[in-house]
């Protein structure tokens, strides 16, 4: 197992960060799929450019050394090549910008009316979740705190600094609105698999919409430095079927 880890071959049992992970976590939302695809598309051209630049560099070093060309050429500028090497990169940048902006704005957009609103409120150093769609008064009927499980209390198979006592339960394949805010200092609600990273700012409520495409457990961490225990306020999202979500809501406390 340790050998495998060193060979970057670990397969985590859940959607959490793996030891020595280099790539993305598996996408669970269309948003994350878009991010991953964009990254891969750009990386393809990035590698092409890298190879081209390295090839020119190495070639120049190889061919123009002091033994072969004892008297250096005294060219200080060439208009044509300067125009080309300015225009071409800017065209490439523009071509990268097109899908990039398309993705950015599609992530902001609220396409349909959400089915459920979940509020994630950051505290030093835990999170509170409020499901207020089922309230009949200003009394909160379904709200709970989510604390990290400390190292001493971990059970076999649980991830250190990632597991919490109360997970965010939400239905898969449903449009959800996350309202993210904070009660003290800025925090951030980030779940890599869902492609969401939303700052939790006191006095302001930020909205992000997610639609988890498959049932599973997704792990995330606070992504805005918020004090001593910044590392100890992870996020665990459990996406279940609509039926299970219904019974979870009905059986809450």
């Amino acid at each position: 197992m340790i050998v495998h880890e060193w060979l970057f071959l670990t397969i985590a049992p859940c959607d959490a960060a793996e030891p020595w992970q280099l790539g993305f976590q598996d996408a669970a939302t269309p948003m994350m799929q878009g991010i991953t695809d964009l990254h891969h598309d750009i990386f393809f051209f990035l590698i092409l450019i890298l190879v081209f630049v390295l090839w020119m560099l190495v070639r120049a070093l190889w061919h123009f050394d002091y033994k072969k060309h004892p008297i250096p050429q005294r060219i200080v500028h060439g208009t044509t090549i300067e125009i080309l090497r300015t225009i071409l990169p800017s065209i490439i940048l523009m071509f990268i910008a097109i899908p990039s902006f398309a993705l950015l704005y599609s992530m902001d957009e609220v396409v349909v009316d959400p089915a459920i609103t979940i509020k994630a409120i950051g505290h030093q150093w835990y999170r509170t979740y409020e499901y207020s769609d089922y309230n009949s008064s200003d009394e909160q009927s379904l709200t709970f705190d989510s604390y990290m499980i400390t190292e001493d209390d971990l059970e076999l198979g649980q991830s250190r600094l990632l597991e919490v006592d109360n997970r965010v339960v939400l239905p898969a394949n449903t449009h959800l609105r996350m309202i993210v805010t904070s009660a003290d200092v800025p925090h951030s609600w980030a779940v890599p698999s869902s492609g969401v990273k939303c700052h939790a700012v006191p006095g302001r409520s930020n909205q992000t919409s997610i639609s988890v495409q498959r049932e599973g457990v997704y792990y995330g961490q606070c992504s805005r430095f918020c004090g001593t225990n910044h590392a100890s306020m992870p996020i665990v999202v459990e996406a279940v079927s609509m039926k299970d979500y219904g019974s979870w809501v009905q059986n809450f406390e």
Binding site: S106, V112, A115, R204
Partner: protein, 227 residues
């Protein structure tokens, strides 16, 4: 990006996306199909359908783009003003027409157009009784029973997307819904059933702590909003 819903959305032009009247109208109008089908199909396929319908219908009513800026009390009285609606293609247009005479602002600047639509729709329904698709109010009441799907056993319903607040920052969305609720109860009396939806919306959108603080401020008479 990969979802069908996004693809459909892409086909809208910017002008269409900003055409608030239409979108709200369509949202209100297409709500019944969503809730009706929710019982049978997975939620995802619904949304695709809804967006598809939206796209069609928006292009149908495209010419009615200008919208209004109106204070809430004004709209509450303005409800029965739908008569002069010309008989156009869809039943969505009458309510939009009602908004047209006062049109001065560009769509993004809308402040309180949503109440206009919501208040106006029942009137539309009266005017055209033959319409099979019902207004938002009626659908909401109906959804009371229907949305309780066998699948989840609970009522799946929350504050709709509000095109007055299209950004990530929803602070004012929550605040506005809270104010709307209390202005509604001030106008229609405590516990009026028309106001229940606003209560539902602000409870969905506002963190409990904020609501508690505002309730306290209202009691002390220090609430900063226009009540």
């Amino acid at each position: 990006m990969a979802a069908g819903g996004d693809q459909e959305e892409k086909t809208l032009t910017l002008a269409q996306q900003w055409a608030l009247k239409e979108i709200e109208e369509q949202a209100a109008k297409t709500e019944p199909p969503v809730q009706a089908t929710e019982d049978v199909k997975p939620a995802n396929s619904d949304s695709v359908e809804v967006v598809a319908e939206k796209t069609e219908e928006i292009s149908a009513t495209e010419e009615a783009i200008p919208a209004t800026e109106e204070a809430i009390p004004a709209t509450e009285e303005a409800t029965p003003a739908t008569e002069e609606a010309p008989p156009t293609a869809e039943e969505a247009t009458p309510a939009t027409e009602e908004a047209l005479p006062t049109a001065e602002e560009t769509p993004p600047a809308i402040v309180d157009s949503n109440p206009v639509t919501e208040e106006a729709t029942p009137a539309t329904e009266d005017a055209t009784p033959a319409v099979e698709e019902v207004s938002e109010d009626a659908s909401e009441e109906r959804s009371g029973e229907e949305v309780v799907s066998e699948e989840s056993g609970i009522k799946i319903e929350t504050a709709p997307a509000d095109f007055r607040f299209p950004t990530t920052n929803q602070t004012r969305h929550c605040f506005t819904r809270y104010v709307e609720y209390h202005r509604c109860t001030a106008a229609k009396g405590e516990g009026a059933s028309e106001c229940d939806k606003f209560a539902k919306y602000y409870r969905a959108l506002c963190p409990g702590e904020w609501v508690d603080r505002w309730n306290e401020q209202r009691e002390n008479g220090t609430f900063p909003g226009p009540l």
